[in-house]
């Protein structure tokens, strides 16, 4: 009767493995250690065009992990507050987007390419299509709560990276105008700022730097915040003092003088200003 027992054992072992796998839903859970490249897409397209793109999802962790990918809408206020929306916002272009798959398994210390495509409909108007790709860890171990024993309050945390996708449709472009320069209290700190309006139909950004000196004749650079100025927005962006080759924050003595050029996508602003 040796052989039948062995046969039963050989049949039982895979079943036991299957049961163990089913009873261990946290097998692939772990810390969120994900890098995404590129961290944003700035594309252009026209009616009926199909635009395909790919991003790399890299797992820096020592164990394989699974992430989910989905589209979300987002809004960005003139004050720089970002909000994510699972539900479709009016005018959302997310229905145009096709994702390669919903779940991506990324090997330990490895990466996986993820493809998506945007099919611009025939009746799309000139403007900018914006959405985000949310890459997040698959639900972390809820079972850990039960196993932790004695815990009366448990709060798993999860990580997510939101990759912005901008698509300028049918020739949409930013049109930035500098409204003013000045000084503003931001987060309790006095900072030089520029106020910029975008009258175009696609987002724009400031770039470049100004050569500045402070009240003690110390030289440094003033670098504008490079966050987006969405169509129709007027944003007041801080200029951050920077000393080349140093990572520590520069604490200039007021007043400041600055001159130079701040660039944007299709032009530049010459600045020669005193910040009192």
């Amino acid at each position: 009767m040796m052989w039948p027992s062995l046969c039963r054992l050989r049949l039982a072992l895979p079943l036991l493995g299957l049961v163990a796998a089913l009873c261990n839903p946290v097998a692939h859970a772990g810390p969120f250690e994900i890098a995404i490249s590129p961290s944003r897409f700035e594309l252009s397209g026209r009616n009926t065009q199909r635009i395909g793109q790919s991003m790399d999802i890299q797992n820096l962790g020592g164990t394989a992990t699974e992430v989910s990918v989905r589209t979300i809408d987002w809004t960005y206020s003139p004050e720089g507050h970002i909000t994510y929306h699972d539900a479709l916002l009016p005018g959302s272009c997310r229905p145009w987007v096709t994702l390669e798959r919903k779940l991506v398994r990324v090997p330990a210390r490895g990466k996986a390419a993820f493809r998506f495509q945007v099919d611009v409909p025939v009746d799309a108007q000139r403007g900018e299509c914006r959405f985000m790709l949310a890459v997040e860890g698959v639900e972390p171990a809820h079972k850990a709560l039960i196993e932790s024993g004695g815990a009366s309050l448990s709060l798993p945390v999860n990580g997510r990276i939101a990759v912005a996708v901008y698509m300028a449709l049918n020739g949409a472009q930013p049109q930035l105008e500098m409204r003013s320069v000045g000084v503003k209290d931001i987060g309790g700190t006095r900072k030089p700022v520029v106020t910029v309006h975008n009258s175009g139909d696609a987002h724009g950004r400031l770039d470049g730097s100004l050569d500045a000196t402070d009240g003690q004749n110390k030289s440094f650079e003033l670098v504008p915040e490079g966050t987006p100025i969405l169509p129709g927005q007027t944003r007041t962006l801080p200029l951050t003092p920077r000393l080349a080759g140093q990572t520590k924050a520069v604490d200039p003595a007021w007043p400041l003088k600055a001159q130079g050029t701040l660039d944007w996508d299709r032009g530049a602003f010459k600045v020669n200003a005193d910040f009192q």
Partner: protein, 230 residues
């Protein structure tokens, strides 16, 4: 074997492919120069380089295995722990006060006053952001509220403080997405472009202040922290 090479390429279906290859631009073109003299002879050839560096963003939430150092050189140890913030509240019965003991038939002195609750020690969660895409913003959202059956503890009962002013923790509201906090650009090793590069680590400390009016039960929820560089 008869027929021209063109004939055989057509027969084998390779002609369209060959045509495609010919139509493609060459991947690289070398510059060739020569000098026939007289001496001294010098020749120069130029080689153009093009390097594309994509923007990236990296977020770590938890005690990961990717990181063994911090700006100070001593960061969280690498391991594969699954991170769940857990608190254990314990009741204390007045008037002594006397801590209640788990189990049945465990007599303690009790004045009849309402018990008070104390939470266990705060929970520390290491986090990290690296990017070359400029300003990185972090938001927090209670994707699952703290609930036990039909009872709910507002997420505002959980406070999160950061060990680093350069990497603050968002204040997670009871519902919806928190206001974004900025991760300060710069950090160790970012001297080359401190306004674009970010390398910040921090320990976020979760604390819970229990309330006596909360019904007993095991409360569980989930917070999702989102990083983006829009």
């Amino acid at each position: 074997m008869t027929g021209t090479p063109l004939y055989w390429l057509r027969r084998m279906g390779l002609l369209p492919l060959m045509a495609g290859c010919i139509a493609l631009p060459p991947q690289a073109r070398a510059e060739e120069n020569f000098d026939n003299g007289p001496a001294p002879m010098t020749v120069q050839a130029r080689l153009d380089f093009s390097i594309r560096i994509n923007k990236f963003i990296f977020l770590r939430v938890g005690t990961g295995g990717s990181f063994t150092g911090a700006e100070s050189g001593t960061g969280p140890a690498a391991n594969g722990t699954i991170d769940t913030v857990s608190f254990t509240t314990s009741a204390s019965i007045p008037a002594v006060p006397t801590a209640a003991t788990n189990g049945v038939n465990k007599p303690v002195n009790w004045s009849g006053g309402a018990p008070t609750f104390t939470a266990s020690a705060p929970v520390v969660l290491p986090v990290e952001v690296r990017s070359n895409a400029g300003q990185v913003r972090i938001t927090g959202q209670a994707t699952t509220p703290l609930s036990s059956g039909s009872n709910t503890i507002p997420m505002t009962a959980i406070s999160i403080t950061s060990s680093s002013a350069q990497f603050p923790a968002p204040v997670v509201p009871a519902t919806g997405v928190s206001p974004a906090v900025n991760v300060a650009v710069g950090g160790a090793g970012t001297t080359a472009a401190p306004t674009l590069l970010t390398y910040r680590t921090a320990n976020w400390t979760f604390a819970y202040t229990p309330s006596a009016s909360v019904p007993a039960g095991v409360y569980s929820g989930q917070i999702t922290f989102t990083a983006s560089a829009p």
